[in-house]
Assembly symmetry: C5
Homo-oligomer: 324 residues x 5
């Protein structure tokens, strides 16, 4: 689906575009404007028509239709093909949904293609239209703005993961019984998936920032370096998360083990409390002819009292030593 298509000249939006070829011709004519086409999960057909007009490479077009690509920056003749993974944190499921934004960046055009769980790019367009000096740098300004937005979302996702890890730590080291292996593993899985979407971006982003790619305006380089820097920071964080979760998983094992021991000690204490009166009762159940206590007037209540006393004493002792 074609979401938006506009011709930009001198950093401002021009009249609406009726025909892609004309707009492109106009952009080429004065050599200053460019066309921005926004697509959302386009069919092979839709993207095909755009690709024919702009001369995009069939392999890149195929990738852009099929989605599920690796994050990458590829240099095709006539255009740069950039694949970015978008990340959104799903509050209720504590899950990260991964989507994709692809860009074709040429000299006089830029095509953005969204797939899956990616936010619409309206506000990116709005932001750019409000910053004409950026927009005047041409298609690579759009590349920057989109990448900036995508990476900002990474930062938010990383913050959410950090919060989840705090919660899981709390749970692992709390007194309450329970095994948190499932939650830890779930988080680990999310972190590993997220990292897979982010890490391959580090190197191509730095390449863009260093100006080792065509169609990137000189003035956009520090901006792209800024984005590259944020990606690197997120990767740092995610590696840290991974490390922490491995340690939490190990610590959880010790906690589970300790809690089990607490159970065992509690059980044992009660067994001991029951075993002692049983033993005493057994003794007074013996059939010896000469057992003076059996003849006492208050032998029985006394025996009961002794049993109760010993039980109470044991109970207090266990309570004090933390077994109960």
């Amino acid at each position: 689906m074609i979401v938006d298509c506009a011709l930009y000249r001198d950093g401002a939006r021009d009249a609406p575009v009726d025909d892609l070829s004309e707009a492109l011709a106009a952009a080429r004519r004065d050599g200053a404007g460019f066309v921005w086409i926004g697509l959302h999960e386009p069919t092979e057909d839709e993207l095909g028509r755009v690709a024919d007009e702009l001369g995009l490479h069939p392999l890149a077009v195929e990738d852009a239709v099929k989605a599920h690509q690796r994050p990458k920056v590829e240099d095709y003749e006539g255009s740069l093909f950039v694949v970015l993974k978008t990340a959104l944190y799903q509050e209720q499921a504590s899950a990260i949904s991964i989507g994709e934004v692809m860009l074709f960046v040429g000299d006089r055009f830029v095509v953005t293609v969204r797939h899956g769980a990616s936010k619409a790019l309206h506000d990116v367009r709005a932001r750019l239209e409000s910053e004409p000096e950026l927009l005047a740098c041409g298609p690579s300004a759009v590349l920057y703005a989109v990448a900036d937005r995508v990476v900002d979302d990474y930062t938010e996702v990383a913050a959410e993961i950090a919060r989840d890890i705090d919660e899981v730590e709390e749970a692992v080291f709390s007194q309450s019984a329970g095994n948190d292996a499932r939650q830890i593993y779930h988080l680990k899985r999310e972190v590993i998936g997220f990292r897979r979407g982010v890490r391959p971006l580090v190197e191509p982003m730095q390449r863009l920032a260093a100006g080792r790619a065509p169609h990137v305006h000189e003035r956009m380089r520090p901006f792209l370096r800024d984005v590259a820097d944020h990606v690197a920071r997120v990767v740092d964080q995610v590696d840290q998360f991974d490390d922490l979760l491995t340690s939490v998983l190990n610590a959880n094992l010790a906690q589970v083990s300790v809690r089990q021991n607490a159970d065992m000690r509690r059980i044992s204490a009660w067994v001991a409390i029951v075993a002692v009166p049983t033993m005493i009762a057994g003794i007074y159940g013996m059939n010896f002819d000469h057992m003076p206590e059996l003849r006492w007037r208050y032998g029985y209540p006394l025996a009961l009292a002794v049993m109760a006393l010993i039980c109470a004493g044991l109970y207090r002792a266990f309570k004090r030593s933390g077994w109960l």
Copy 2:
């Protein structure tokens, strides 16, 4: 066994080849065609005759007969020797069987050699014959088509492994008792073996894509880059699988431990339920002369009732706290 042997000219299949030397001479004469020879587990003899004709290096020929090579791209004088590992997922055994496809790529010829669990290359040939513009690029188009097919299979295998991991996660974190160490380890083993077949391919594929190898047509480079990219994606995934399985193995230990504790608590609860009436019976089995309860008319049923009540109470308490 020679499976197929054909002369291709201008992107189309020529008349059937009777004699390899003649066909080769024809291909060389107009400098545009090439010969494609397909072999399946050839004997030393079969491959030897082909090699003599084409001037293949003895070491490469030896490798191609013996199989069990590392994935690699080697540049011999006059031809490129490429070894690819094929992977097929065996549904019933949840196992991956690894085979091999080798290619000798020259300027006017290409030889494909299949070993073990690799699918036949008929459809690769069919696909190429239906895309003359690809075939017109010469032997490296065959290299691309075979590699593309092999790597597509990787993607499928990776998807199957992902499904297996989902199942094993389900099993580990389900309530049902059981130890999943065996299945996890089995999967881990498959993943490690698969990675060994795929990872060494990353670097040589990128080398081919970058055009740092002879006999590769200029126009095939983006196609080979596409394949290189898919290999990298599979390696990413496999690394992720490996990570996940290590974590699952650890989490499984906690789960096993927790399930054992549940067993222990269940046992203990029953021991407690039996121990209390035993204690009471012991008390009323004492031989004191003065135990008024013993004389009561309904002493015995009362004692039984007390026992039953306490047992029922304990049972409910354990039930409520989750021990039973």
Copy 3:
């Protein structure tokens, strides 16, 4: 907040600066002096005015206001932007609080910006003013002095962590019961966070030391190399800490397990001590007609004595074998 602002000439502090532009003009005029502006958590506005005057890049300024950057050295036109993470050990919480110091280093100016838990830079200024030969090297001397101070704090923090690890080791391997997983994990977390602040510094510091950055005085290079060396040493130490904590966490699991076994053996010993008299009492509670012992005059005290003897014997045996 502007903390301090001074003009330095020939290694000495000049008259106080009223107006930044004038001071800058003065510094530029003789081409030997420089202006040092110290800021603490400046507002966008405060830093904006300084940035306009000095021609700092808007992206760097944005980073300097927002804080929470990665440690880095970035080369913008006209100035070097350096971000350093400061670390302070919080005695009472055994926690490391991370702050930030940023520097803009130009030819005739240096701007220092502090955020969060970083010590004031008064003594850095004082140290420099007492070493005119350093100060005479210009803005990069300030860069050195600040970095030197920051890295000295790292060394202190590392020493504190080493002490904490010693304590935790002591606790893990001591006889006293307890599970130290929480403390170990807490330390691990601090170490991982600290490393994240320090490690990214290694490479840019070495770059500065090697003179691959503008605005750095030739004579400052060995000094910066010294700092780079200290950073590398701290990173070495932190890696070692990480390694050690992983091992301690594993060893702790064995210790917890062993302590649990000790508990189990203690419980079992007491169960045995109680079970034996119960069994004996059971035997003499049997109702056989012909049990000569029951008729003995001293049968009962004898039976009690036997029970006591066996219990004492068991107690000694368990004591000797370390079960009690």
Copy 4:
């Protein structure tokens, strides 16, 4: 001990060598032959005399006498010094014994020195003498043939380790009780030791294959690349073994834990089976005046029958649930 010493000319063995100097002179004279000296654990003296004649560097000679070197390829003036680790699998001890072969490769000579558990080089010599076209390439052909043999042995050792790992996996996941930590660790140790002998070889072998070393004949390069490739394959395999053994060690922990739980459940089942009749016996041992069952004619056999029934019922229930 000098094992063999021969002069080779034009790919064939010449008349036996009486005097090393003369032979060397002969080899130098026609500039085509070379001398091959084979030594086995030579004394300092023996090797010293050869070294003097050939002008070997004292440091290399010292290394060659002392053995226990790292695998390496060192370029000394006038000769190449190559150290290879040999590996032999000891069937009965499931152990790998590591030996050494050193080579001095010059333009007109090659010296081979064997230490420890390395097979004799007779068959290498025999193989070469039967392939004159190889031998005609000079000393580097000997280097190739020796390295090829050494690396072939690696492949065999790796196959043996793979078999041992299969066995240990079988043992870990079998139903039979037992703790396989010892065997796993033993294998791990062997694998780590083997890797230490093989891995340092990867880089120098590739260097030789790439022709970045003197005294290596142009025509030997593809052969050396073949060897380098096999080394890389073995290293791949060994890394895989290491990975697998780490996972097996973890899985073993779960298996041990599960088997212990099985023991615990079996014990508990028997305790329950014994506890119930004890409780019933206790009840009928109470001394209430009015217990009608006690007066029944068949009270006792009935009680016994009830006990037996309950025991049998419990036994069946436990059997069915897998606790017994």
Copy 5:
């Protein structure tokens, strides 16, 4: 403290040096001799005077006084500053004590500074004085001789660690009860500390050996390469130790677990042996009117005999199955 100070000419020790400046002047005059000054934990003052005379860089001097440096090779104007970590194995504590030797290597002088647990350098001096051809190479010969000695000590320490690991393996897998986590961790800690002293040396040593540092005599390069090689070998070994200790720590967990299970089974066996007679006694303690056995003449001894028999049978059964 200045330990020794001598002027060397043409590979031999000259007349004793009264005055450093004079000696230095003499060394410079003929351009062949050099001065060797040996210091042991010098004060700032002592080293300062030497530094002034030789023109050493203040930063290097500060490092040399303070000690606790990272191993490194730094190139200052006029001299090379080398820091080496020395290692000594303390037999009684099974600990490695780390010391330092620093060297300033100039064209006509060498200064050695010892700190902490490093052996005196007398024998290094003696060795050099006995090998004039080495000494004639100038200051870098001293650098070689010191480094060689330091690295030889590494090799010894590594051998001691290997022995300690053998012992700990023995202990872990022996039948005797016990938890070896403490010893394993202690060893791990030593190994990690040792590695930290050795590993940073690899790269600068290779740099010296490759001749990419000033003041190093051409003829010393192979000697330094030899040292670099030994360092690499020690690092290999230490990495192997680290790997092994991680595995032993894991294996120990399984061993501890298995030993605990053995305890549990032993306890359970005894519980069973005691529980059966208790049950039988309970049965004959029942008060049924009609229990023929109770009336038998030999009922009581028979019952006792049955109990004893069952106990003996159980004991044998448990003994046979390895539970006792």
